[in-house]
């Protein structure tokens, strides 16, 4: 247990503060202190990608980040991308294109997709596969996830999917 530290950051668009052990994992802070459970723990060692969140626009693994590293950052979880009644186009595309099965990898996949589409608005299938390669899925075989990422890109570009 370390000396508690005051940590302030933006979380899903809102400024938040907490005082906590700076050595706690970011995934635990999100899930336990903020009740945000979209980031899932599939391995706890940075291999599966299910805990991915956007940190200043970059997909990062919250199981490998410490609470202290959140200070001053802008964090977005899958909950912050959109809600079922107002989903993000990536979330809509995942649902519409059948990219969601058990769904446990899905929030992390949408985060990886969000980072990709911000950097490359019109990726091809190979680029989408590369961007998703740090996120494991055991249900889908990835085909429909790639479909969804391309469709989300088209929707974000204002094209019909």
């Amino acid at each position: 247990m370390n000396e508690p530290m005051d940590i302030a950051f933006r979380l899903n668009g809102r400024p938040v503060e907490l005082t906590t052990d700076p050595g706690r994992r970011a995934i635990d802070v999100l899930r336990e202190d903020f009740g945000l459970t979209a980031a899932k723990e599939g391995c706890g060692s940075g291999e599966c990608g299910a805990c991915a969140v956007l940190v200043d626009g970059t997909a990062r693994l919250s199981c490998l980040m410490l609470a202290a590293q959140l200070h001053g950052r802008d964090l977005t979880t899958a909950e912050g991308l959109g809600r079922p009644d107002a989903p993000h186009p990536i979330q809509t595309a995942f649902a519409v294109h059948g990219a969601v099965q058990c769904g446990y990898c899905t929030p992390g996949m949408t985060i990886a997709a969000a980072e990709l589409l911000a950097r490359d608005p019109a990726p091809d299938r190979e680029a989408a596969r590369r961007a998703l390669s740090g996120n494991l899925c055991r249900c889908t075989g990835y085909v429909k996830i790639v479909d969804a990422v391309l469709a989300a890109g088209a929707a974000l570009r204002g094209e019909e999917s």
Partner: protein, 765 residues
Amino acid sequence: MDADRDKGASPGAPRVDALDKACGRQRYAADETPPGCLLAGVKRAGIPHGRIVRLDTAAARAVPGVVTVLTRADVPGTNRQGIVHKDQPVLCGQRVRHHGDPVALVVAENKDALAAGLAAVEVAFEALPAVFDPEEALSPNAPLVHPDREGGNLLAHGLMEKGDAESALAGCDVVVAGRFATPAQDHVSLEPPNGLARLAPSGRLTMVVSTQAPFRDRFEIAQALGLDPQRIRIRAPYLGGGFGGKDGATVQCLLALAALRLPGRWIKMAWSREETFLAGYKRHAAVMDIRLGARADGTLEAIACAMCFDAGPYAHLSGEIMELGMEHAGGPYRIPHVRIEGSCAYTNNPVGGAFRGFGVVQACFAVERAMDMLARRLGRAPESLRLQNALRPGETSAVGVAAEPGTDVAACLNAALAHPLWTGREAWKQAAPAFTRRGVGLVAVQNAMGYGRGLPDHATAKLELTRQGTFRLYNSVPDMGQGNAAAFVAMAAQALGQPEAAVACVQPDTAACPPAGSSSASRTVYTFGNALLRACRTMAEKLRNRAALALLCDTPDRLVLTPGGVSDPATGRFVPLSVLAGFLIRDDRICIDQFVMPVVENPPDTGREFKLGFPHRYFTYGACLCGVEADELTGRVRLVQCLLTVACGKVFTLAGVEQQLAGAAAQGAGLALFEELALEGGRIRAGDLSTYLIPTSLDLPDIDCLPLPDDEPSGPLGIKGMGEVGIHGPGPAVAQALFDAVGLDAASLPITPEVVLAALEELTP
């Protein structure tokens, strides 16, 4: 390819669970952490076989934040869990039989205290001789895994026969013989096993568990801990994957034990990935010896197959898995003379258990490889030998069961043969980039549906009209990702003439839902779906009759359910469901119905030792094409093309069928090329996701799925189960493709770069 895909991309309505999951709002068992919840963890053996000579928990109890430490002495009841055979201790008291065996249960206030408490449990063992090879385990001098057990290490043995295989083999023009092996496999559900439990002051035990079988779990817990199963309530929210790994107790009995000792407190147990590798169930490694004989014209005459399965130290469903493997060992072929012998051995390896494909993965690899050997010996193309011998409806299967009517395996093969991936294969192979070689393989597959004879494959479905005039269906079969909950909503909405938004779905809860069998065996949508549609029919009839009173209509049959109400086409009058619901007491607003899967009516006179689960009546058929590219310099193999054709009854939703087929093929491809636990002395050396490699998005092609026109009249809306059939093809199809590419004749999986390089070196001395 992409253009074709886009053209065909009419995705239809999304699954009702999809958007909540995509938005991160779906709550899995792992997401439930009630305030004040304690954490439980397990001290595990860490040796393959030994006697516990000292177990001291005093230091662990003294760790600040540790609430209690429990051992075998704290377990009431039999301390034995298991689905059919009860041989697996909840906590080991005297002996441990594999690295993951549990010796103490620590409950703590927080993670740090739990870790410190687990580290402070002092346990010493006297090492015992261990056995890691199932065939060695069956030799007379092998160390005994269960010393007092009659039968020694032979957990199960059986024989399925038709005709006279030995005589027929002696008379065959051609006989090939081979020994084939498939490895253990980990499910790698993204959500590891986990759950919560609390014992209420009333004495009722409430649990939330990531489980495929909540109804059966109650009996397993009750038996192991000496409880009344009716006092146990289990909820099974959506699972983050299962694939068989959550069919049978993982955390259940341990959590229940902790809850009994700490009444009133919520207790949570969540296995880490490493603990899941260590303690979770695995697909059985198997070795299969086959002799396959034919006439000179390619007509199959006889097969003799001996299968040996590695059960690990506890039975789980090993005997039943062996049995299903044996039933499939003759493949989807017409073979008059058959002798299939199965044995299943206790060892000190990880515990074998249910895994998508359930013994069939092993059998299919062996028989398909033997078919390739035979085709070569006869100078025949592998696909033409398969087509020539493909089992037709009405003919008897290898184990003597008449094949049901419907689209058959020949149709599945022919559909693959007509596909551009097959017709264009020579040009594709010739276009191999420099320093690579390409090859294409095509195999036939089949998978039985349901539990089989002797164990009723049942479900009971409950449907409620709410006071508001919407519907609520009570799903009794957990959705581990296969989409059955969404399928049930869509089926009920269609049957009741309502939009899907008007049908809510309660996930399995033994206190609210009537019982049903497990989420397994390609049975879920077939069996529960049939029960649900019966309940829907009763509900619709009831509502028409009640509406007839309100609409002053004396021929209720002419009334129709329309969104939000019941209409009379003759008069144009309409009564809202909310009004009808207001007139009905709750009992009258509920319809419950049930279904049991039909079984083979005249079972063959063989396999009599199998009281549960033999034979099966309904099979789903398919064919699988794989195109591979082998790197001549590194031996690395890429799966570049994959096509699955399938006959699985009518297609309820194309996306749903594609999801199951592609996902299963991905798991099969992992087994074919990557997944290896690297067991050494019973210890898993590849026990995390950086060493045990499952396919990533870069390892798989755009898998193509082609369901054929088919109909199963006994199925709900004509469907058959198809959650498993897609997993069987990639192993043997990749092997055949690698023979085509580099002349490698693989007899075991996974086919690693080392093996491929060795084959390449033989080609270019």
